[in-house]
Subunit: 365 residues, 2 copies
């Protein structure tokens, strides 16, 4: 792998110190030692990070572009994160904003296998999609299956486990997934909508392989995965081993000083998330409209020959916001409404149907 990753950091500094600070980041994210004693020409010319540009953004903030040698990533996802932001994540003054990758990264990391279009195709849709989450934490498999059945009765496109539902004693994966998968399949056969259920993976690589095998045996063709929690190398391994499965990326533990638009929009896409969940504006997270649109567009706009990844805004969304959100994001989106839908309890099939119809009536299916 040759070439350099062009990494954009925003650094708080005074004008007098920014040159030194930029050089320090270039060193920290590459050789991590003083350059003076280095005499190996390969190291000096290839692996030492380079300050490419510094722009004063005003108000004590600087945009610093640093060229990091692609070869130092070994083209592996964990090492890529390590080189982009590992030690610098421990320094308060710096935010990782964006990165441009040289040729070869798209081919090496492959991005989404199914992506936006694959998720539409699975449910026979051409427009925006509907999704909800099974909650609350602590419910039995049977209780979760009842909720899933009601959602499927409403004709929803995708149902996922809450990301907090792992493999706990009150709802072990091996008991939960078959019951829910069966409930969803039963209702889907009645409605004619091929509703999908994506269970949440957790544990180590072996555990997740076992969970995928079980999900397959239940006829499921996709899963929920939290790349920052399970480790990005596990994510890529599971993706490579399961080319037919769709992977819905969850943002939990993503609160590093990395912009969400880069981490959840572009980096998760490069790593291969077919869809990426993120906190929507105006919900219980503090994201701005600008950030959400940048994130969604980073996920779905043309980029490095990667398939588009489906943006999934979420986080305290309510049914009355469906038209506004579709107006904002357009039809290349999957909405995720959990809690407010679950609050309707016995009326869940009807309320789900209302939600699904609101999504379907926007643009053509």
């Amino acid at each position: 792998m040759s070439g350099r990753i062009d990494v954009l950091y925003h650094v708080r500094s005074d004008a007098r110190s920014i040159d030194g600070r930029a050089k320090a980041i270039a060193i920290e994210q590459s050789v991590e030692m003083p350059v003076e004693p280095i005499d190996d020409p390969f190291v000096l010319e290839e692996t030492v990070g380079r300050v490419e540009a510094i722009d004063d953004l005003g108000g004590g903030l600087f945009a610093v572009r640093i060229g990091l040698a692609a070869i130092t990533t070994g083209m592996r996802p964990g090492q890529l994160l390590n080189m982009l932001f590992g030690n610098t994540s421990l320094q308060d003054d710096t935010v990782l904003v964006d990165a441009t990758f040289p040729a070869g990264f798209a081919e090496a990391f492959k991005g989404p296998r199914h992506g936006l279009e694959g998720l539409r195709a699975r449910v026979g849709a051409t427009g925006a999609l509907s999704c909800s989450a099974l909650k609350p934490q602590g419910s039995s498999p049977r209780a979760l299956a009842t909720i899933a059945a009601r959602m499927a009765q409403g004709g929803i496109d995708y149902i996922k486990d809450d990301h907090g539902i792992a493999d706990q004693s009150y709802s072990p994966f091996a008991e939960r997934v078959p019951v829910i998968a069966d409930a969803v399949a039963t209702e889907a056969a009645k409605t004619g909508v091929p509703t999908r259920y994506f269970p949440s993976l957790s544990g180590n690589l072996d555990d997740m392989r076992g969970q995928i095998a079980l999900a397959r045996s239940c006829g499921l063709d996709g899963v929920l995965i939290a790349p920052m929690l399970v480790g990005v190398d596990q994510f890529l391994t599971l993706k490579a081993e399961n080319p037919d499965l769709a992977f819905l990326g969850h943002p939990t533990l993503g609160g590093l000083r990395i912009t969400q638009s880069f981490l959840l929009g572009k980096l998760f896409r490069l790593l291969g998330a077919d869809a990426t969940i993120f906190p929507n504006y105006g919900g219980r997270f503090g994201n701005s409209k600008e950030l959400c649109l940048a994130l969604a567009d980073g996920a779905r706009r043309p980029w490095m020959d990667l398939k588009p990844c489906m943006p999934v805004p979420a986080g305290g969304m309510t049914l009355d916001r469906v038209p506004e959100m579709l107006e904002f994001y357009g039809s290349e989106v999957m909405l995720l409404i959990g809690g407010s839908l679950l609050s309707t309890k016995e009326r869940l099939p009807q309320e789900t149907a209302r939600y699904v119809n609101a999504v379907r009536s926007f643009g053509k299916r």
Copy 2:
């Protein structure tokens, strides 16, 4: 698993909003939906998070203590992180400061197997220890082995790979580790100091298992691991599979809004790091003396029947600071000096010996 984890968050808020904000965190980190529609008594009484206390710290900062049901963690490390801070990590106003665990956590996660005393015993020491890092990124295995040999000639206790040295083409793990291990063993036989070399693990769980097998075949008895990069479930699995190996924890990608004293001091210890590297005060990271001491003491002071974990301050340390650092931390410490030692090039054996002697002459060995 019964009982509650008592989690301390610091939240920026105004006095009018803090009650609601605290409740929102308790919900976000547990059932993640409105409580009103929940009618399952187990969920209401057991799994819903509880606000235990709110203290006004002044200046718009509040200390919020929340009780999270231990059962929701499934006693697995990734899910533990998910419940402690997963989605809340995406919210700018909240920092995870500390947590108190109920009975059973020490037994389930086990903590360090070797810890502070085990690391001393490996090199026949009773006082402070010396450590350095192999750099720079881009060097060949032979070049790194030359550096390692010089350090071993100086009688250093521990040598580790730079955390950025993974499995890249210019220094593949399988080529690098045998050459370096051999160089260190050869010099150690001459000096009589049983210098240890800990190579850096990377990749997925399978890759790391292979790397450990190779390290074992080279006679090594410890490794460097970055829990936040490889995923904490991988870390615990490798620890369980290799009870005789010592694990040196690296902080890379640890820059979440989790205090370093909790994440790198206590949580890494609970998960089983025998030693934990952290950015020292007065180096190239911005940590205060107070934070460093809290972190070191969290790692080594009596806590939940766990063995003490060795604190390893690092990050731009220089030889002239050895006496001051030992005065500050006492003898329950392993110093890590990398770049400034490497800058001495051919004089590395002599400078290493000076470093080692400064460490050894502090307190009794």
